[in-house]
C-alpha cells in the first residue's frame, strides 16, 4: 500500500500539486493513522496534508478520484462470452471432462486467466505488469504505444499467441472466445495507459508546452495560444513580483545617523534616548512605456503592456502611451479595464494605422515630456519602421537626456535593423540599452533587467 501512496504522490505532482518530501512523510503518517478502510476519510486526509490552497484541493480531489477508479477489467467481453459458451458447451463437454470454466491445463497463465474470466486475477496481473513496465514513468502521449506493448509483453502476450494458434487448430470455439478476450484485454491495457498518461504526464506535457510557448515569436501566435500565453505572462508577472518586491523592504534601515541623533536628544543633554537611522533610499521604478501598436508589433505591445501593468507591487508608477499614427496615453484604460477590453479599446483608438514615429514623438514631446524625470526609465517598444517619414531622433535625444535610462525593445531580429525603412541605428545611438524582444522569454528578461536596475 505504501507503493500505492508513492504512486499517488507522483500522480499528484502530475496534477500540478507540489508535494515535497516532508509533506509526503506527513501524509504517510496521517494515512497510517486513519487507515485505508474508508475512502472518504482517506480523501480528506490526503487533501488536508498535501494540498495547500483551494485550487490545489480541487486538483488533488480530481486526481484522487481518477487514481482510485482503476478501469474495470473486461466487462463488455462477458455477454458474447456467455453466448459463446452456451453454443460451445457440448463440444467443450466432450473435450474436457473437467466441466465448464476449467480451461485446458496446457494453456499459458494468461490464456487460463482469460478463459476462466477470473477478473481479480487479471486485474492483479495487469497491475503487476504495469509496475514491471514502470508505467508511472510515462510522460508524453507519444509514449502510449510503447507502454501498451510493454505491458502486454509483461502479461505474456507471446505465450498467448502460441496458445491461440494451437487452439485454432484443436478447438476453434475456444480459440474464438480467447481471441475476443484478448481484444478486450488490449482495449483494457490501452485504457490503463491512457489513464496513466493523464495522471503522471500532465506536468511534463504542460512544461513542454510552456517551454515551446516561451520561445515562440509573440507576433505570430495562433488564436488558441493567445490564451495560454496570457496565463504564461501572468506567471511571469508573479515571478517578477516575488523576486523584486521583498528584499527592498529589508534593506531600508541603514546605519545610525549620529548627527541627527545628537540633535534630537539635545534636550536630554545628549543622552541618546531616541535614535534615528540613516535610511537608504531606494527608488521604486518609475516607468514610462511608449508602445507601437501598429501591424505586427501590436501583439508584442499587448503582452508587454499586460506584463508591465501587472507589476504594481514592484513598480511605483507606470504611464503608458500607445501610438501608431499619433500618440495617446493609455494608463487609465489599462488600469481600470480587463486586459481584453483594454486592448480592444486601445486598438480602436490608435491602432490599425501605419506608424509615424516622428509624429508620435512630437505628440509625446508636446503633452507628456514632463512625465520624464531623472528617476524614470523610458521604454520604447517598436520596430522603428518609420515608413520613410521624419524619424525626429532629436526628440529621442531629449528624452534620453531627461531620463535615467532609455530602453528600446525591438521585436525584429538584429539582422533586420537598419534595412529598408528601419531607423533603428539612428535611434539606438540615444538608447541606454537596445534589446531584441520577440518571445516571452526575452520579454521576461528585458522587464526583469529594467526592474533590477533600481534594486
Amino acid at each position: 500500500m505504501r507503493e500505492e501512496l508513492h504512486r499517488f504522490f507522483r500522480a499528484a505532482r502530475g496534477a500540478g500539486v507540489r508535494v515535497s518530501p516532508a509533506e509526503s512523510i506527513d501524509a504517510m503518517k496521517a494515512v497510517a493513522d486513519v487507515g485505508f478502510a474508508e475512502r472518504g476519510i482517506l480523501r480528506d486526509t490526503l487533501l488536508l496534508t498535501l494540498a495547500k490552497s483551494q485550487e490545489e484541493k480541487q486538483a488533488l480531489g480530481d486526481c484522487f478520484d481518477l487514481f482510485f477508479s482503476q478501469p474495470e477489467t473486461p466487462e463488455h467481453a462477458e455477454p458474447d462470452d456467455t453466448e459463446n459458451s452456451k453454443g460451445g458447451d457440448s463440444s467443450q463437454g466432450e473435450n474436457q471432462p473437467g466441466g465448464e470454466g476449467a480451461p485446458p491445463p496446457e494453456l499459458g497463465d494468461l490464456a487460463q486467466m482469460l478463459m476462466s474470466r477470473d477478473r481479480n486475477a487479471i486485474a492483479a496481473a495487469m497491475a503487476a505488469a504495469s509496475n514491471a513496465a514502470s508505467l508511472s514513468d510515462i510522460r508524453y502521449f507519444t509514449q502510449r504505444g510503447i507502454f501498451s506493448s510493454r505491458i502486454l509483453e509483461q502479461l505474456g502476450i507471446e505465450r498467448l499467441r502460441d496458445d491461440l494458434d494451437a487452439l485454432t487448430a484443436s478447438n476453434p470455439g475456444d480459440a474464438e472466445r480467447l481471441a475476443a478476450a484478448l481484444e478486450a484485454l488490449r482495449e483494457n491495457v490501452r485504457e490503463v495507459v491512457n489513464q496513466a498518461l493523464v495522471l503522471y504526464g500532465r506536468e511534463e506535457t504542460e512544461n513542454l508546452r510552456n517551454e515551446i510557448l516561451r520561445n515562440a515569436p509573440l507576433a505570430r501566435l495562433e488564436r488558441r495560444q493567445v490564451e495560454q500565453m496570457k496565463a504564461l505572462i501572468r506567471a511571469i508577472a508573479r515571478r517578477l513580483r516575488e523576486r523584486y518586491s521583498k528584499p527592498r523592504k529589508r534593506q531600508r534601515r541603514g546605519h545610525l545617523d549620529t548627527r541627527k541623533t545628537l540633535r534630537r536628544n539635545a534636550a536630554w543633554g545628549g543622552v541618546p534616548f531616541l535614535t534615528s537611522w540613516k535610511r537608504r533610499h531606494r527608488d521604486r521604478p518609475k516607468i514610462v512605456a511608449i508602445c507601437d501598436v501598429s501591424g505586427s508589433v501590436a501583439q508584442v505591445s499587448d503582452f508587454f503592456l499586460l506584463l508591465i501593468h501587472s507589476l504594481h507591487e514592484v513598480v511605483d508608477d507606470v504611464r503608458s502611451f500607445a501610438f501608431s499614427g499619433h500618440l495617446i496615453e493609455v494608463s487609465d484604460i489599462l488600469d481600470t479595464k480587463s486586459p481584453e477590453e483594454a486592448m480592444s479599446e486601445i486598438m480602436s483608438k490608435v491602432g490599425f494605422g501605419s506608424s509615424d514615429y516622428g509624429g508620435s514623438f512630437k505628440d509625446f514631446e508636446k503633452d507628456f515630456m514632463r512625465s520624464v524625470t531623472p528617476k524614470t526609465t523610458v521604454i520604447v517598444l517598436g520596430d522603428a519602421r518609420t515608413n520613410n517619414l521624419d524619424p525626429r531622433a532629436d526628440i529621442l535625444r531629449t528624452i534620453s537626456e531627461r531620463s535615467k535610462r532609455l530602453v528600446w525593445l525591438n521585436p525584429e531580429g538584429r539582422m533586420a535593423w537598419g534595412w529598408g525603412d528601419s531607423e533603428m541605428p539612428r535611434y539606438s545611438a540615444f538608447c541606454t540599452v537596445v534589446r531584441q524582444c520577440s518571445t516571452a522569454k526575452q520579454l521576461e528578461r528585458a522587464v526583469s533587467d529594467i526592474v533590477a536596475a533600481y534594486q
Partner: protein, 315 residues
C-alpha cells in the same frame, strides 16, 4: 492535572466539538483529529464568519484548555508576539547592582581579582525573570498545554510569518540571550486566514490546510439548532433555505454562518414563527452588510420566501 490524550477516532472529535457547541463537518473533524495525532498546526482558510475562530474556541472548551489568542495586524513584531525584556526592571537591577557593588567585590585588591569576582557573580541581567512573555511564548510555557490561536495571519507582514516557522515546526522559540525555550506540552495551534494575501510556501508546508466553506443545508440547520435554542424546526428550515438562495446571488459580501445565527436570534426575539415577506424585509440588514447588497436582494425576497416556505413544509 488534565491529561491531554488525542482522541481515538474521528467520531470522538465530532462528538467532543459538538459538546462544546460546535457542529463540525467531516473534513473539520478529520483535520482536528489529524492535528492531534501527528502534532501539526492547522491552517484554516475560508470566508469571514464561517467559524474559523470559533473552531479554536470550541476545541479549547472541549479539551478544558486555556486558549491563547494572538490577533495579527500589520506591523506586528516579535516584541509583541514572542517576548520582550522588562526594561524598567533591568534598569532597576543595574541600580541595585551599583549599590551593592562594594559588597560583591568586597576586599578585592587588584583589578584582575575584582573582575574575577564579578564574573563569578551570577549574571541575571538577561535571565528568565526579566523576560515578559508574549502570546507565543506564553503558549509554550503552559504546563497543561493550550490551544494557540493565531488569528488572521494574512493581516500580518510577510516577515512575521518567518518568525512563526520555528514555533510551528518544532514548538520552540530561540531567545538569543537565553537559549531555546521548548514547549512543556505541545500546544494545539490553529492559524486562520481570510486569504487577503498568499501565505508563504514555507508556512503552508508546516500546516494541515483546511478550507471551511459555507456549510451544507443540513449541517447549517444543525448549527442553528445548537446555537439558537428555542427555535422551531420550521423556522430553522426556512431561514437556512432562504439564506442558501441569497448566497446564489452576486453580492459583495455573502451572508455566512455567523449572519445566519444572528438572524435566527433576531427572528426568535421578534417571536416570529414563520418567515414572511414583511419581517424579512425589515430584518434584512442583519443579514447583509452593504446597502447595494440589500437593494439587489429586496426584489427577490418574495420568491425566496415562497421557496423557503415550500421547503419548510416538505423538507
Amino acid at each position: 492535572m488534565n491529561t491531554h490524550l488525542p482522541a481515538h477516532s474521528i467520531e470522538a472529535v465530532t462528538r467532543g466539538l459538538a459538546s462544546a457547541g460546535y457542529i463540525a463537518s467531516k473534513q473539520i473533524a478529520t483535520a482536528v483529529y489529524l492535528a492531534e495525532r501527528i502534532e501539526k498546526p492547522i491552517l484554516v482558510e475560508g470566508p469571514a464568519g464561517v467559524g474559523k475562530t470559533e473552531l479554536a474556541k470550541a476545541l479549547a472548551a472541549w479539551r478544558g484548555l486555556k486558549m491563547i489568542r494572538m490577533q495579527c495586524y500589520e506591523g506586528l513584531d516579535e516584541a509583541k508576539a514572542l517576548y520582550e525584556w522588562k526594561y524598567a526592571k533591568q534598569l532597576l537591577y543595574t541600580q541595585i547592582l551599583k549599590d551593592k557593588l562594594g559588597e560583591v567585590l568586597g576586599g578585592a585588591d587588584t583589578l584582575a581579582a575584582a573582575l574575577g569576582k564579578l564574573h563569578d557573580f551570577g549574571d541575571v541581567f538577561f535571565s528568565k525573570e526579566f523576560v515578559e512573555p508574549r502570546p507565543l511564548l506564553q503558549a509554550l510555557e503552559q504546563a497543561n498545554g493550550c490551544v494557540l490561536l493565531v488569528d488572521e495571519i494574512d493581516k500580518s507582514d510577510a516577515e512575521f510569518e518567518s518568525l512563526l516557522l520555528e514555533i510551528l515546526s518544532d514548538y520552540q522559540v530561540s531567545i538569543p540571550e537565553l537559549g531555546t525555550v521548548t514547549a512543556i506540552v505541545k500546544p494545539t495551534v490553529i492559524l486562520t486566514s481570510n486569504g487577503e494575501r498568499d501565505l508563504s510556501d514555507a508556512l503552508k508546508r508546516r500546516c494541515l490546510h483546511l478550507h471551511i466553506g459555507f456549510p451544507e443545508q443540513k449541517l447549517e440547520e444543525r448549527i442553528v439548532e445548537s446555537r439558537v435554542p428555542g427555535i422551531s424546526a420550521t423556522l430553522r428550515k426556512q431561514i437556512v433555505g432562504f439564506i442558501n438562495q441569497v448566497r446564489a446571488l452576486d453580492l459583495k459580501k455573502l451572508p455566512s454562518v455567523s449572519e445566519t445565527i444572528d438572524w435566527a436570534r433576531v427572528l426568535v426575539l421578534l417571536q416570529s414563527s414563520e418567515l414572511d415577506h414583511e419581517t424579512v424585509k425589515d430584518t434584512l440588514n442583519v443579514l447583509l452588510k452593504y446597502e447595494a447588497d440589500i437593494e439587489t436582494t429586496i426584489p427577490q425576497v418574495s420568491s425566496f420566501v415562497a421557496k423557503a416556505g415550500r421547503q419548510g413544509v416538505f423538507g
